[in-house]
Amino acid sequence: MKILCVCGMGFGSSLMLKMTVEKVIQKKGLNAEAEATDIGTASGTQADLILTNNEFASQLEGGSVPVKAVMNMASEDEVEKAIDEYLDSK
């Protein structure tokens, strides 16, 4: 699966979030990849799950891709919980 990490410019918090997602993917042994992008191109990018902050989550919600909000971009616990919720909902 593909996890899209989104922030305003695509090279700050989204990259930080991508690093955290990659740690969680490795820890859980998931067959998944992470990509960072900016809010402008996020809605046109194919993905299975979008992770971002609260504000962009509310902007991106309602599309075809499930969206989860993360408060701390470096928190493996938060990211793991978001991925688990997504996997459970499938």
């Binding site: 918090s13 690093m19 504000e55 902007q59 701390n72 971009m73």
Partner: protein, 154 residues
């Protein structure tokens, strides 16, 4: 991780500022003084927030002001500022107002140094105790001590 080592001149403790624009300027001041960034870079960081919204929070209470290297970075650098009082950002589309007290101003010259910086900053914000202690400091000396202790420990 030596890339992200904060020296004394890049650590600041401040009582309060008038608004978030002032907070960005203050947080960038050490890098400007050291000649690492230009005035234009500071303006670009402010413009980014004006254009994209105030979404530079990377953790509760922690803001990461930054812009693209070509906006005016002469040399890579990072500066950390603790504000005693909340800095309020304009409300987002959800009408919620974000506040922050810890500002990490980032200036990268290329994507590799940028990634190294982000890795270093990640190691700070994943340590909640470290962040909480920084938020509780009451002086410049105390702020420097907590950061030095963090480096000794890690």
């Amino acid at each position: 991780m030596s890339d992200v080592k904060l020296d004394k001149s890049s650590i600041q403790w401040k009582q309060e500022v008038t608004d978030w624009r002032e907070a960005i300027k203050v947080s960038a001041e050490p890098l400007l003084q050291q000649g690492k960034i230009t005035e234009n870079y500071i303006q670009a960081m402010i413009d980014n927030i004006d254009n994209l919204g105030p979404y530079i929070l990377i953790a509760p209470n922690v803001a990461l002001p930054h812009a693209r290297p070509e906006a005016g970075v002469n040399e890579r650098g990072i500066a950390l500022t603790v504000f005693k009082k909340d800095v309020e950002f304009p409300p987002g589309t959800d009408n919620k107002t974000d506040t922050a007290r810890l500002f990490i101003c980032l200036a990268a010259t290329d994507s590799e140094t940028h990634l190294n910086f982000l890795k270093g900053i990640s190691s700070w914000i994943e340590d909640e105790e470290f962040i909480n202690r920084l938020l509780e400091t009451d002086s410049q000396e105390e702020t420097e001590d907590i950061i030095n202790e963090f480096y000794t420990k890690n």
